[in-house]
Symmetry: D2
Subunit: 402 residues, 4 copies
């Protein structure tokens, strides 16, 4: 047992932190100015492209991706890097080409894509030239239960025809989003976990209608490409667009979820660190009743509890990454579910305390806290609500005594 | 001791609830459509004027105002009516001419205004023809400590000259907002609570610059007239615009805060009731793992705890109203602070649970929950953060044993 | 709606508080000395009999009992008196002949007893000459579901024969306990709520074996007569010992539970007040890091939150009492369940904070706090665990939307 | 970074768990019978001596002690073993000669004792022949601030004379306790952390009066030797009894606290695991409303949250042990304080939920839960209350931004 980061991780951490200090944090107000100035809420901010070029030059690119296509880091090595990126969640992940859902889509194409699929879609994604979306969640059903899925993917000659309605397809509002990975039912009569397929659908395919962008606590998240509601009305794509094969949709989704969740958690830890830093700085500077509010016991309690819960959650997340590397995603299932429940609780609480420490500024556009909160709050819901994971965790715990 | 509402209250409750069912709830989507369709974020939605006319006709107008100018209700009688309005907080309070900060401004003018001030500003406010704002909070200081205030109101011949910077002046982004009540220091050398004055400043006075609208999470609250940051740069108004007299600012603020806080609390209880209703309806309708999620124990716990904490908070709020009516705002000070702390905690928790019960829809524009949350969250901060009130409550509790 | 106590209540409150100051609080250390000095853990402390005589003389006797046999107070009038008694829960309730389970047993005999039953058992109970126990809970089943009950009450000629095992029969370890009211099944084939009967069993009936006293966090509660496990082995009593009639057991239990729960809640509020007072006194006196710990923000937060939650819970309890008086126990069912959940949560939290404020003294025999905690903790369990009540509350809430 | 236990640890874990299954758990009821049967509350149970002999034979002895005198394990290696012992906290630690305060006293004598001190007191302690106590806490002062200490250790010729009053000297009620390590002020005028000394005082020295045993909730903890209040009245011991030298008392206390706290935390994690196991077993077996209560969502939430918080707290505790091994106790100071706050919160919550899952049995002597709770609750207080550690943690966090 050993709790220090290895040399390669430390080296990347150092370079990444330096890049954040030099380029990312100073660019945050620039991003907001560019977005405020744009007429179109889905406009792309030029600062992002500038920074992407710099990140590529610095060798801080595709760090998330194991194997030859990416930086080749393990989950355990990447985790603390994702944490650092999470400190500036509107800017850093995209700058380093490590932002969801592109990361998950690139993983899927790397692992399951054909050579042609990879050439057509993976290469430009790896290069940061296009963006992508993953169309999974549906408005009408509890999507935490995959068998509920309503969208149909039906074979018709050399094509598949897709009909259905998706929402929360993050990134799809962006004009730079070119390709959708769509999950749907290809065979409702197959066994439970063989009914689903995943298929590649270019955004400009006839019948694809981007209906609207979903809001998150008043934010449309335009800088991330928003969250689209999309109608698929007799959308026809070539049969070779299927990923891995008919009936493989559930397996692909499972493969994607482990890394996806741990990336979310690591970034969330970075968000919590950022909020804690802001809380410390603010309370040291702000005076009331004769002294800095950082001297007040209640504020100190918030700070201490924040530090403790960040540390405990970081360790469990790192152990989860280590398990994924050593025994595989399936062997890390309990731990993945644990951090999926525990980290969002930690980060929402800390950000909420940081907001309170800022007073009215905390809920406003003058700090990143309110938007951090909105994002953190969604983590209790995306990829399955807390309650579903707790139920599953309890069942596994109880099983050993049945 | 008696826990039933009196006949007059019951009669108003019945009529108000009927009006809500018939006119307000059906108008909620209309409001959103009109606001979405408007080019200007601060545009006034026509539906509001239509409903105001109906409310006036129905005799449901100015219910908040005691005495001859309003409906003449006591705080205890008005409280359950404010609760009902709180169920539709974007629409109902304004429709019944009971929305902050106009209510507080009307109370101040009724109690402290000269005949001329009342004629010029109170009458059109009572008629719902104009709106108003209250300029108290400042960006640079902890405004919970009134002695921190930086804005200056200086006598110069027959005028006062105002210099300073305010923010969170709610309503002031609306083109319908015509008058500001500004709090500032007229005599920094006077004793602690005699340094401040309040003065009437027409919005179109030279030197008044509405700088920007503050956001609450991602909302700009345009339907409420937003929350303005305002710069006062050598703003000159006639000396007769002073309210009640130089040095009276703190006393006026105190007089305003009691009713203001209790109105916030009563509306917040209505918000909680709305959220609980939505949570029940949703969980009965939504199915997962073989049954409605309303059958799940965790959801039932949320619902039971919501019901209990609404009841306990409502009772303390009503008792506070009764104390204000019987022993005055000062005699109700402890209870006012208690509900100021307790009610926001209750409503944020319930709305948060309702969001969770709705999944992704809960954070989106498809339910009122995310915007209810954003509003509820500010109640922990406005009119003094929870921590300041808890500190004051504890000191009073400890005093009896010193 | 009116929040003041009526004149009769105020008069009793004044006298009771005076009696507490003059006689009860000074007797607390005497009680502990007498108990510590006694060889027998179930010995009766002489101080209690002395105080009972004084209480009778002062006309503070049987305050709990409505109607001619007792003080004739309503629930709403008695509630604040029970609260005051709860401030010294080991001493005051018994001194005023208002302690469970005697109160419930006296209510049952008053309402359902025959003239002979009343003469034989109610009269000496009302006079405080004997004590009694209620044998309901069983070790082997979840007693919150009355249909689970295993004890049998079988007719055999002119007798009933009782077989079964009970525990947590509070008071039955006392040599002064002379009579048991036993709940059992007389007809397992009857409809669900007609299967049970209640019957009077003198403690000295052959076959009654008091097996042991149950502990509560290390306490055996000898001053209360402990909590007995009792085996009933072919216990034969005359048929006229049945209460109200065969099959009436469930109805009698229901009639008993409402007042029983509200008495527990009111006393618990008194316990919370006592703990809060101790917390204030201690933290004002105790010094650390250069000042009294009452000056620390975290302690002030505890105190403020304690005050708030005591107030809200007291109001709901009083409203519940008012409902019981005006619409009956059945009409107050939701509120009874609400306080049954909410009050124990409040009091355990406050006592726990008071313990923390006392440091090691708080968990020891040098303050009443640890034993208050132990007692408060059981309130989450007795008369049905929190979870059962929450479930029932949620179902009622949901019903209106089904 | 690596999260697996090393081979030596795994080997010890296997043997220890086997010993627990074979000898410790079956002996728990025996211990209680022997204690119940003893007339003297401080009597030693023979079963403990039997098991100690077995543990010595099995080579599971003095595992806590690094270096040649003990098993020579690192903190990181010992931590998971202490956790296993913590599953049976009344029995296992003493059986393996790893129980507080003997462990701390042995560490102190090993590190700071003279050859003679070691021979006279360390050797019989290592052999498990005697027990010892540490006299630090005083009734009159907040002992979390070491400068508050009131006991005097004054040089008088070849002797030191000790006067003062201590309490919570755990173990000192046992007739097997032969030696006390007493902390007191030898020079009140020295600098803050040089005023204190520690000195060896044989229990039978004239002037040592064991006044009484302190209770923890209703427990006197006789199986642990209780918690004594001790009066030192002109107690005279030879000058060579001083440990390490005059003025070294604070430094010795600091050296002791790190390992002491981490041992407490590791055992507490074992207590939590035990409580969780009991909760699972009970809820699977107990039926209500038509199924095992383990199927209820609320219970599953308790179980899932218990599993998560055990994992996160265990990891932080292990990392703390690793830091102590690699950078020393001082370098691990922040982490030691973090677990000192976090672990007690975790374990009290889990034990409390396990109690609730057991109903009335949970608070009684029929499960170990109530006594686990009482012990866990003290962990929020001993070695400094949570609030002191949080304050210190916050200050360190804030320091980097000052």
């Amino acid at each position: 047992m050993e709790f220090g980061y290895d040399a390669r991780t430390e080296e990347f951490r150092g370079r990444l932190a330096e890049f954040m200090d030099e380029h990312i944090y100073p660019a945050e107000p620039v991003l907001h100015e560019q977005l405020d100035a744009a007429a179109d809420p889905w406009a792309h901010a030029p600062i992002i492209e500038e920074l992407k070029a710099k990140a590529k030059d610095a060798g801080l690119w595709n760090l998330f991706l194991p194997g030859e296509h990416g930086a080749g880091l393990t989950n355990l090595q990447y985790a603390p890097l994702a944490e650092i990126m999470g400190r500036s969640p509107h800017l850093a992940p995209e700058v380093f080409n490590c932002s969801a859902p592109d990361t998950g889509n690139m993983e899927v194409l790397t692992e399951f894509g054909t050579a042609q699929q990879r050439e057509q879609w993976l290469d430009p994604l790896l290069a940061g030239e296009i963006r992508s979306a993953f169309c999974m969640t549906e408005p009408e059903v509890a999507s935490s239960d995959a068998t509920n899925i309503g969208t149909r993917i039906e074979r018709d000659g050399d094509s598949y025809v897709i009909n259905g309605r998706k929402w929360w397809s993050s990134g799809a509002m962006s004009p730079r989003c070119k390709i959708l990975i769509v999950m749907g039912k290809s065979d409702p009569d197959a066994q439970r976990h063989r009914q689903q397929s995943q298929i590649l659908v270019p955004v400009d395919t006839p019948g694809v209608r981007i209906k609207r962008g979903m809001h998150v606590f008043g934010y449309h998240d335009g800088d991330h490409g928003g969250h689209a509601e999309i109608v698929f009305d007799n959308v026809r794509v070539p049969a070779e667009n299927i990923i891995s094969g008919e009936g493989e949709g559930f397996a692909i989704a499972q493969a994607r979820l482990g890394p996806g969740r741990i990336h979310h958690c690591m970034r969330a830890i970075g968000m919590a660190e950022r909020a804690l830093e802001l809380m410390c700085r603010r309370t040291l500077r702000r005076t009331a009743f004769g002294g800095p509010i950082a001297d007040q016991g209640v504020v100190q309690q918030w700070i201490a509890d924040a530090r403790i819960s960040i540390e405990t959650n970081r360790l469990l997340t790192l152990k989860t990454a280590w398990l994924m590397d050593t025994v595989g995603n399936k062997g890390a299932h309990t731990e993945i579910q644990s951090i999926k429940v525990s980290v969002p609780e930690m980060v929402t609480r800390i950000v909420d305390r940081a907001i309170q420490a800022h007073g009215a500024a905390g809920v406003s556009q003058d700090t990143p806290l309110a938007s951090l909160y909105a994002h953190a709050r969604t983590l209790h819901i995306v990829d399955g609500p807390d309650e579903v994971h707790r139920r599953s965790l309890a069942r596994r715990e109880l099983k050993q005594y049945r």
